[in-house]
Symmetry: C2
Amino acid sequence: MTKSLKDKTLQEQVYENLKLGLLNGEFKPGVSVTIRGLAEELGVSAMPIREALRRLTTERALVLTPTGRVRVPCMTRKKLNQLVSARICLEKQAAIDAIPYIDDEMIEALSLLNDEIDQCIERNDYQAYLQKHRRFHFTLYQAAPSDVFMPLIESVWLQVSPFLSLTLSLEHLQSYNT
Amino acid sequence: MTKSLKDKTLQEQVYENLKLGLLNGEFKPGVSVTIRGLAEELGVSAMPIREALRRLTTERALVLTPTGRVRVPCMTRKKLNQLVSARICLEKQAAIDAIPYIDDEMIEALSLLNDEIDQCIERNDYQAYLQKHRRFHFTLYQAAPSDVFMPLIESVWLQVSPFLSLTLSLEHLQSYNT
DNA sequence: ATCCAGTTTTTGTGATCACAAATATTGCCA
DNA sequence: TGGCAATATTTGTGATCACAAAAACTGGAT
């Protein structure tokens, strides 16, 4: 577990950890995560895990089965359409709001990220591509600090990421041909 | 506590209960809510309250102070602008998506709600007005069942509602003249 | 009366436990 | 060998406890 000690509570650390894992595609759609399993894996008790999972479930990054078990959600065609639709309207607005805050320094940073993205594509490093790609977008949106749009956008990304990362192992994609 | 027994877990019941309370303006901005306080008030132990509060905090319906205490968030001019902006782009899309699903029965229901809203305005029943107003919007958006847009929209409403309900007691509004 | 140090109370966090329900495993019979 | 019932295990939920930090309260000195 990557401890960033500035985070106060254990629950917060676990949450950040799992969130990053989700965004980086370390959890495949359909697999179920258990409290005790993660507790042992991360070396903490059940409580911080419970609360972190509850948080991620609230953000729709994870879903609850009818019996209360937690799993990484699977993608459907309809849901993907809605997520794309949500991304478009939310991030369009976030980008517009960011415009006044864009200075030369930020353009420099974004330009660098864009170059790095190109390099990732050249060496077919899709894993790194997804991370740089995410960083590019979030850097832009965070230019205009917004406690309203950022959580909404993050929730959408958390819902898309596990599916998007499936392209890292293309053989699984056939499950989604409906 | 209003128990709807079809809800399975205690945590779920507490969550729904608090959410409704937030939407109906039963919690004023700035007041802090405590785990033990609610536990005693609702007659349950601390655990379900903890998880419900964690959920509502994740949805930004409640906020965490730097010391971990939970309170009903205060409104700022900037935040209100962003919330309105978010409502416009999210609910605009939700309404568009709903169009194909609107049938005569739904038009009837919406029309009835609209009449009830008018009546609320006539008798200056702002409390009831807010509820009918909310029901009108959510009835429309839920026409196209979306597990993506509804939670996002709900989060925005949860953030606006406590402030909106302040108009129920106008004397508090002067706190927000900045 | 006002301010501040010292004390008491309240609070969130994390750990652990009992319990019932859901799930996985086993072993038997056809 | 394949299906199914009985058993064993795993799981989430809710309760309770200890602890440290934060907040509220108290009392006296200026």
